[in-house]
């Protein structure tokens, strides 16, 4: 079966050409690059379109953007602490707690970001800095169902077979289930009432999504007409022509912040700071906040109006009045909730 045309010499020659070509771009860019993650989907699109060109233009740094969810980033860095595959973390509040406890995050030095002066003091701490606010509420399809008012409405018979849910694997899932639990007598640390409610109502659930990306596709395909999710996901889907609207639950929408961090032992630490600084800049924050990206700015120079709808949020002061959960309390409980969700929702 051996081919007479390929001798060992030609094979070696071809192989070395290939090896050199794969090495070349690395060598050329080694002076200025940073490996940064972005959540798959809308975030990735926004960062690719806005942040990458800005980082290249203002800092002359090439960004390798890796689409990864928070927990996947933590898992990847955990698996190779000494030589982490990322320079920057983009995390939701829950995974921040895990990553900090595991010692995967480098201490954050605010003085290395000149744009930090445009931020409220509460938006950064010794571990990282907020880059966008997220609002969690209810999404629905206005062509197919009535507008729901609050969390309790999800269990109304008129929505039977139309509501899709997701578990404690995501930030918005966890936050929403906590709020549901509160409506039935629970609290931030007690989700038993939510489980009791879900269990009763399970036959009427349209779909159970296993990850945030699935939530988007399932809504788009009409598998569900009501669900809980981030405002920014709704805005992106709407931008694509999907029939979807966002509702602030009558008991108050949930707000949380997505943060950037420098990974411990990062290969390109200086560039990680340059990347974070660029994201915080007034221009980038303003561009990221424009629909359809709708990533709520943390920069004082970028007001939330007029990019956000009037009835959603008018100012940062109003945003601060939304429901906030303390993830340092939630994070240690979440593992058990995830496992319980597995067992209770199983057919």
């Amino acid at each position: 079966m051996s081919s007479p045309h390929i001798t060992r010499r030609t094979l070696l020659a071809g192989g070395s050409v290939l090896a050199v070509t794969t090495l070349l771009p690395r060598a050329a860019h080694a002076a200025g690059r940073v490996v940064a993650p972005a959540y798959p989907g809308p975030w990735e699109e926004a960062y690719r379109a806005v942040v990458l060109p800005a980082v290249k233009k203002t800092q002359d740094v090439d960004t390798v953007l890796t689409p990864l969810l928070s927990l996947d980033q933590v898992a990847k860095v955990k698996a190779s602490r000494g030589t982490p595959p990322l320079d920057v973390f983009m995390l939701d509040p829950g995974p921040v707690v895990i990553a900090t406890e595991d010692g995967l995050i480098d201490k954050f030095d605010p003085s290395r970001c000149k744009n930090i002066v445009h931020l409220q003091k509460s938006f950064f701490d010794e571990w990282g800095v907020a880059v966008a606010a997220q609002i969690v509420g209810i999404a629905y399809n206005p062509k197919k169902v009535d507008r729901p008012k609050g969390w309790k409405d999800l269990f109304e018979p008129k929505y039977n077979g139309k509501v899709g849910i997701s578990g404690f694997g995501t930030t918005f899932g966890t936050s929403s289930l906590i709020e549901i639990s509160k409506q039935y007598g629970g609290s931030m640390t007690n989700v038993d009432p939510a489980f009791a409610q879900l269990k009763k109502w399970l036959p009427h659930v349209a779909v159970i999504a296993q990850n945030p990306v699935a939530v988007n596709t399932l809504f788009q395909q009409g598998q569900m007409d009501v669900t809980y999710t981030n405002y920014q996901t709704v805005s992106t889907l709407k931008g694509r022509g999907v029939d979807i609207e966002f509702v602030k639950p009558d008991t108050g929408p949930i707000a949380f912040y997505t943060t950037l961090h420098v990974v411990k032992n990062a290969a390109n630490k200086d560039n990680a700071y340059k990347f974070i600084d660029t994201v915080l800049s007034t221009e980038v924050q303003a561009a990221l906040q424009k629909p359809p990206y709708s990533l709520l700015s943390v920069n004082k120079n970028v007001p939330l109006q007029p990019d956000m709808p009037q009835d959603l949020v008018k100012s940062h002061a109003e945003l601060a009045s939304f429901v906030h959960h303390d993830w340092r309390v939630i994070a240690p409980l979440r593992g058990a909730w995830i496992e319980r969700f597995n067992k209770e929702i199983r057919q």
């Binding site: 927990l71 996947d72 933590v74 898992a75 955990k78 895990i98 077979g161 849910i165 997701s166 578990g167 694997g169 349209a206 779909v207 159970i208 999504a209 296993q210 699935a214 596709t217 395909q221 009409g222 598998q223 593992g335 995830i338 496992e339 597995n342 067992k343 929702i345 199983r346 057919q347």
Partner: protein, 254 residues
Amino acid sequence: MLLAGISLRVTPQLEGFGLGQYAKFAGDAFNWSVLWQTLMLGVKTVALTACIGVPLGLLFIEAPRRLQPLMLFVIVLPLLTSVVVRTFAWMVILGREGLVNNALLALGLIGAPLRLLHTELGLVVALSQIEMPLMLLPLISVMSRLDPNLKDASAALGAGRWRTLFRVTLPLSLPGLLAGCLLVFASSVTAFVSQTIIGGGRMVLMPFYLWQQATTLFNWPFAATIGMVLLVAVLAVVTTLNALGRRSRALVHG
């Protein structure tokens, strides 16, 4: 080896050594039901692919020689597209506003859309199509090597077409069928992408369970344990099928 090593760690921080993780797995009925459902998914997929694969294989060997390359191309076609593409295609077919539901609604056979996606039935059907080439290829390769004279001999000895099929053709194709079953089983039990997307959140199967433990809960020792249990379970089934395969070859040549 690494997998086995990590599965012997006591805590998620990878401290100590012991069989604690295996005890934890064995001690919870939920884990057993996940394992059982996963293996049964494999069995059901194998059954469906075999039921469809055998007639298709017979059709192939009886088809005119000119058509056979074309048929082979059609059989291999699913392997040429990515498993993700095939999975999403099935989402379009099985969805609430998908092909099947729209057709049934248009015909007036059902009043409201049926739930097909995110059910075990939907998953088994989709997996059968996705894994079909793995059943057909070994089956056809064995079937097309059968000596045509055997059939003539059987006919000359007075057997009808059905009797020839059941007493001559099928027993002789058994090694191919078993090889196909083995491939389909191993591959459908571990088909993470199709299981999660078509099966949905209501079904917890071993590959998803492992993924969740490893990347959401960061309990690597328990994830490794799930991996080992799945590996051993699949190996046990594969070994049994292999032993059957050897017996069936003995049947043919003996």
